[in-house]
Amino acid sequence: MLKKLSLAALSVAAMSLGTGALASDCTIKLGAVLPVSGPMGQVGERIANTGQFAVDQFNEAGGVKGCKVEYVLRDTQGQSTVGVDAAKSLVDLEGVQALIGAVSSGVSLPILTSVAVPSKITQVSCCSSSESFTALAEEGKTDGFWFRTYATNRSQSAMGAYLTTKSGFKNTAVIYVNTDFGVGLAKRFEQDIAKLGGSISTMVAYNESQQSYRAEVTKALQGNPDSLFLVAFPVDGATITREWLALGGTDNLIVNNSLRSDDYFQAVGSKYLQNLQGYDSAQPRLPSVASFNEMFEARFDGPPNGPGLHSVYDAVSVVLLAMEASGDITGTNIRDNIRAVTSPDGVEVVVGPEGFKKAKELLAAGKTIRYVGATGALSFDKNGDVQAPKMTWKLDGDKNVETGYMSTAEVAELIEKLDN
């Protein structure tokens, strides 16, 4: 049945090819499930267009195995039910062997478990950061079909623990927002800080948008902590910080990246935050990133500002390179070859048609390659996760200054150390 359908799809594609003026007489489909409408429509559309951009550049370099790549985009509307239907139709009707997407973790997850894994299709997300995927992969439930080119939340707790222990704090209180994000991060932090030689005095969760957090702060002050790790968003974070400082809490604060915000600094008062430290994601400082930015600007008349643009380009690129490296183009082969094209000891290839051309030649010659993309050199761990570079910052007067930069490799090394 499936074979017949894909044959039918192929013949339809072949018919449409007859009318178009195309270089090659075969096509290979790449499925994309992205939220081009709905609450994330604006973000999703830019991501989808950037995916198309990567496909176009690959076609410019000659396509996959001499065949033109067709980018088949389906809308998820940001909803998991719509997303699963879209992915199903791409796999069953269009016969795609790889899926790009989705954006929200809540959409990517059901697609992975109910479409990609059962149908043995490789799924690469540009944007889903939830740790649930890592857990799923650890349990062996993804069969290795899950990859993402966007760093997980994993690194956040690692950076928090790193900053805390690096500053010599021994007894840290944790106040965290009572959401999936906050709870996950705080629990990880608890494990991480123990590995790095710190310890936790108390862990206190708080609910968002409360009138006051005196009770929470009072509880967190128990055990005389010498530092506070605060996982919060600016408005509540400012309330908590003010009450914390007013009640005699230490000003040795370590905060998560959402608090790197002027609203927060002003609400608390910068002069009280001179011992505050934080971390955030950073763009890698590599020529490949700069050349992607240039090409993007030339194509879209604007810089690639916005979430997921760099990472979707890389998601598409690695899938297409893996297809090129595969014998038969099947989901399983793509899955296995994604590591072959991002191999740390491979020959480096960069973004753009020239880079892809070179990659294809190297692959044809039987060499392994290392794709250095728009997000830098990708290296997927056993769970399909990647790391991104991080930076640390503090306040100097009113100014937010960078205090350190950790490359992807350094972040990966830190997490490796924490996980073992």
Partner: protein
């Protein structure tokens, strides 16, 4: 830590008490649950902000803060002006919304109308002042250490003192003045009071003035010790109702005690249950009191 939670509970309960007095009075005398009452706290707090910047422009003598407190005379004047402004808003609402509706519409209509008024009031605040938190003073006030390891901020001591003063003042007003006694009469039975020669309409306006002024003071004190944001009143609505119901509608001391119980139970609860369940405590209190003593601690049994 018990003492600290106790102190925190009393101090946060004091604000709830001030707000609950007005809510309790309107519930008893106007006979409907006014969900927009909590927004009067917000308006009081923001009105004071406007007057504060007005008085602060005088500079000199007005620039100085009083003793250990974070504020000076301007905020006290601003608080008085905020009471007047909020009373005017309350009277306006009474004349153009609640009084008109009460003549023809049923009880539930009044409740829903108050919901609507609450929405309008809250969003007007967002429209005028924006949704970001604002502080009367951007200076951070540090807590002083009391015996027993209890930390309180000087402003909170002021807050507590002012609440006690207000309650004593209201007590004297209700028991010693003609208006106060007439007010209690109207609470008992408006028609009987009217035959006895009490101007019920005037008394009702007094109820609004007292309620709104209490709310404004609560709002300003909240803004002073915590922060101003448009959801200030909205986030207090449950504690306020819990306090009013707990104390029994119409009872001054019931509302004060109710407020303190709500504040204490919220703060003490975190010693036993995780902090994330704290907001549920007022709900549980309302349920409990409705089961055990539906008319509240100081409420009279219905005949």
């Amino acid at each position: 830590m018990f003492l600290q939670h106790l102190a925190d509970g009393i101090l946060s309960g004091a604000i709830v008490s001030l707000g609950a007095i007005g809510l309790s009075f309107t519930m008893k005398m106007l006979r409907f649950a006014n969900f927009s009452h909590s927004e009067l706290l917000t308006w009081g707090a923001y009105a004071a902000l406007v007057f504060l910047s007005f008085f602060s422009t005088f500079g000199g003598f007005f620039d100085q803060t009083i003793g250990p407190f974070s504020f000076g005379l301007p905020l006290l004047f601003a608080m008085a002006c905020a009471c007047i402004t909020t009373s005017l808003i309350a009277m306006f609402l009474h004349l153009y919304v609640f009084d008109r509706l009460s003549r023809s519409a049923g009880h539930m209509t009044m409740v829903f109308a108050s919901f609507g008024v609450a929405l309008v009031l809250r969003h007007l605040v967002t429209l005028i002042w924006g949704s970001d938190p604002i502080y009367y003073s951007n200076e951070l006030q540090f807590a002083i250490l009391l015996p027993g390891g209890v930390r309180v901020m000087p402003d909170q001591v002021f807050l507590f003192g002012l609440t006690i003063f207000t309650v004593i003042f209201l007590h004297l007003f209700m028991t010693r003045t003609r208006t106060g006694i007439a007010m209690r009469g109207v609470a008992e039975s408006p028609s009987l009071a009217q035959v006895s020669g009490v101007n019920v309409n005037a008394i009702i306006l007094w109820v609004w003035i007292i309620g709104a002024s209490g709310a404004a003071m609560g709002g300003v004190l909240y803004g002073m010790t915590i922060q101003l944001r448009p959801e200030l009143g909205f986030s207090l609505i449950l504690p306020l109702f819990a306090a009013a119901i707990l104390g029994g509608a119409g009872s001054l001391y019931g509302a004060v005690l109710g407020g303190l119980i709500v504040g204490l139970s919220e703060n003490l609860s975190v010693m036993i249950i995780p902090t994330t369940y704290k907001p549920a405590v007022p709900f549980l209190l309302i349920l409990l009191i409705l089961f055990i003593r539906p008319d509240g601690i100081f409420g009279e049994r219905k005949r």
